[in-house]
């Protein structure tokens, strides 16, 4: 957690912060004034959460300057997308969804009377789980997503399988993370 937070800083500052905060962490874990080790662990966790907040706050000005300096590809390498392309992707996604849903419905209807029963419906469950997992993995690995926070997209994907995932892929997805361009030195 601390290591991840320190990645927000330029390498040298991040390394310095990492050494400082891990030393604090071991001070908390060795704190003899808190007798219960569970409480110590809780406090260490709270400490790490605070570190994440700190890193977000402290690294913001540098990144904001960098972004406003006209460096549009500052993080994801993603150019702005045109609304037309987005509509096409939504349409493709919906069409794919309707085809799959239609196939499942038809095959369920065909097999309803036979000994096969409702097996195509059982096929839908792993399909949905797999699609959700794919979307969540994509969100987790992306450096950035469009319009909403990552966790909001993740919730949307989970809440509306598969429509949420289709919306994410069509609208929110930017693509795999590009390597960061070198950060400007912090002043």
């Amino acid at each position: 957690m601390i290591r991840g937070s320190c990645r927000r800083f330029p390498a040298d500052v991040g390394a310095d912060r990492y050494r400082e905060w891990t030393a604090e962490l071991s001070a908390i874990l060795d704190d003899a004034s808190i007798r219960s080790s569970f409480l110590r662990a809780l406090r260490a966790l709270a400490f790490c959460a605070g570190i994440a907040t700190t890193a977000r706050q402290l690294s913001r000005p540098a990144r904001a300057d960098y972004r406003s300096a006209g460096n549009e590809r500052w993080r994801t390498g993603a150019p702005r997308t045109r609304p037309g392309a987005m509509a096409v992707r939504v349409a493709i996604g919906l069409a794919a969804y309707l085809i799959v849903a239609g196939l499942v419905t038809v095959t369920t209807g065909l097999t309803a009377g036979s000994h096969l029963g409702a097996w195509p419906l059982l096929l839908v469950v792993p399909l949905g789980i797999g699609f959700d997992a794919y979307c969540l993995r994509d969100i987790a690995r992306a450096a950035d997503v469009r319009y909403l926070r990552k966790w909001v997209w993740a919730l949307i994907c989970l809440a509306q399988t598969p429509l949420g995932g289709i919306l994410y892929l069509a609208i929110g997805r930017i693509g795999p993370a590009q390597p960061l361009p070198p950060m400007p030195p912090r002043t």
Binding site: E20, A23, A27, D31, F47, A49, A52, T54, Q57
Partner: protein
């Protein structure tokens, strides 16, 4: 810089012994400030030259624990902190007077 309640508590801890160095967890406990508040605050203070920091030397008796970063008020920092705290105290007692004032005039 605006003197917030957590900042005031941290400054009071630091001013109590201006020469002493504190590490982050020490300050968190003494001033009852969470880490997410303390470190941005320290970074701001350091940027304004009111606080400086240094790494502790690796001592052989430390039992192999990693070296800590210690924070200390600069001379300027001590001056500013005392000033701000004195101002805060005056303001606080001023508010108390105002709050107590109607009681003087009440017929009882």
């Amino acid at each position: 810089m605006k003197l917030t309640a957590p900042l005031e508590r941290v400054l009071r801890v630091l001013v109590a012994d201006p020469g002493a160095s504190h590490y982050g967890y020490d300050l968190m406990k003494a001033a009852r400030v969470p880490s997410g508040t303390l470190y941005p605050m320290l970074a701001r203070l350091q940027q304004e030259g009111l606080v400086d920091s240094q790494w502790e030397d690796q001592r052989p008796d430390a039992g192999g624990r990693p070296p800590r970063k210690y924070y200390r008020l600069t001379a300027e920092g001590a001056r500013v902190a005392r000033l701000e705290l004195a101002r805060a105290t005056t303001a606080a007692s001023g508010t108390r007077h105002v709050a107590a004032w109607p009681a003087h005039g009440s017929p009882s």
